[in-house]
């Protein structure tokens, strides 16, 4: 036994695909997580935030008619948000850079691109647990400090430049 122990986590999954929800649930159960709640749309996810009180939300971006981005904005900026600080992993088949930036600017904690794998999900879980960025509030944004994420990304380049 030498790894992270996730068994006390409460995870909320929101995806309109029943199969993707089942896959996520199986992976998370395999990681030792017992408390998992699943819903099929963003509005339901917001309601479940109050009922289930998750430590982590994994939500799909594209869930017509509403979408995961609306959920993120509602959680981060909504007056009646049950927990504006909850870590949110955005799950999506959209991988274009402008979309990644849009999700980041909505206040997500991490981005998980489909196709899903047990490895990629495990890595994101670790990243979210180890993420010690403060939250920042400015005029049009509330969420994890985006500049801290950029500093971490470019640390290697900065060091070589010194």
């Amino acid at each position: 036994m030498s790894g992270y122990d996730f068994q006390n986590l409460r995870v909320l999954i929101a995806d309109d695909s029943r199969q993707i929800r089942a896959l996520l649930k199986s992976f998370l159960s395999g990681f030792g997580i017992k408390n998992i709640s699943e819903v099929s749309d963003a509005d339901e996810a917001f309601i479940e935030m109050s009922n289930f009180d998750p430590d982590l939300v994994i939500i799909d971006w594209n869930m017509p008619p509403t979408n995961g981005l609306d959920f993120v904005e509602k959680v981060r900026l909504g007056e009646n948000s049950p927990n504006p600080y909850v870590p949110i992993i955005m799950l999506t088949g959209f991988t274009e850079l402008f979309r990644v930036k849009r999700a980041r600017d909505a206040g997500i904690s991490a981005f998980l691109a489909k196709p899903l794998s047990a490895q990629s999900l495990y890595k994101r879980l670790i990243a979210v647990v180890d993420d010690n960025r403060p939250f920042v509030r400015i005029k049009n944004y509330f969420g994890p400090d985006r500049r801290a994420a950029r500093r971490t990304q470019f640390m290697g380049v900065e060091r070589r430049g010194q």
Partner: protein, 167 residues
């Protein structure tokens, strides 16, 4: 003048619920996860074939429609079905489905309508998707996984929609 920012350290953090020791090693955790997902992964092909049929029937509906009446909303319906296939294929062990559906998404993304040539390109994509299931092309398909995206890109380029058409 720089915008004033307020920095907040939430009192509650996910790390408070996770011990960094005492759990299975990452390798073991991943093996357990894959074992837990075995049934759902093996069942994919059954229901995905039905989804593909839905995509095909939606396409046939387009062909029967007067081209001028194919609206952005119609295209969006097909885009959403392709987008689902793109996300699911590789997740359930069919990366070729993801590659072909990705090409179809790139072709349909942001389109207001479809011409006769466009419909032909969509048809070729859907037939390719159906062929992957018919031939049971699971996992890494080697050279095919490199050649198919290139062929589909060439096809999209013929219609003037290649890479980065949104950027």
């Amino acid at each position: 003048m720089a915008e004033k920012a307020e920095f907040i350290r939430p009192r509650r953090h996910i790390s408070q619920k996770v011990s960094k020791t005492g759990g299975p090693s990452p390798e073991h955790a991943i093996v357990k996860a894959l074992n837990a997902a075995e049934d759902i992964i093996s069942g994919y092909q059954g229901w995905a074939v039905d989804d593909m049929e839905k995509l095909w029937l939606t396409f046939l509906g387009f062909v029967d429609t007067d081209q001028g009446k194919i609206t952005e909303e119609h295209v969006l319906t097909m885009y959403n079905l392709s987008h689902e296939a793109r996300g699911q294929g590789g997740s359930f062990g069919f990366p070729l489905i993801t590659l072909i559906a990705d090409s179809l998404c790139k072709f349909l993304d942001g389109r207001g309508g479809l011409t006769t040539m466009d419909l032909e390109i969509v048809r070729i994509h859907i037939l390719a998707l159906k062929a992957v299931f018919r031939q049971n092309l699971k996992g890494d398909c080697g050279a095919l996984s490199r050649e198919i995206p290139n062929l589909l890109l060439a096809l999209r380029n013929k219609a003037g929609i290649g890479e980065n058409h949104h950027q």
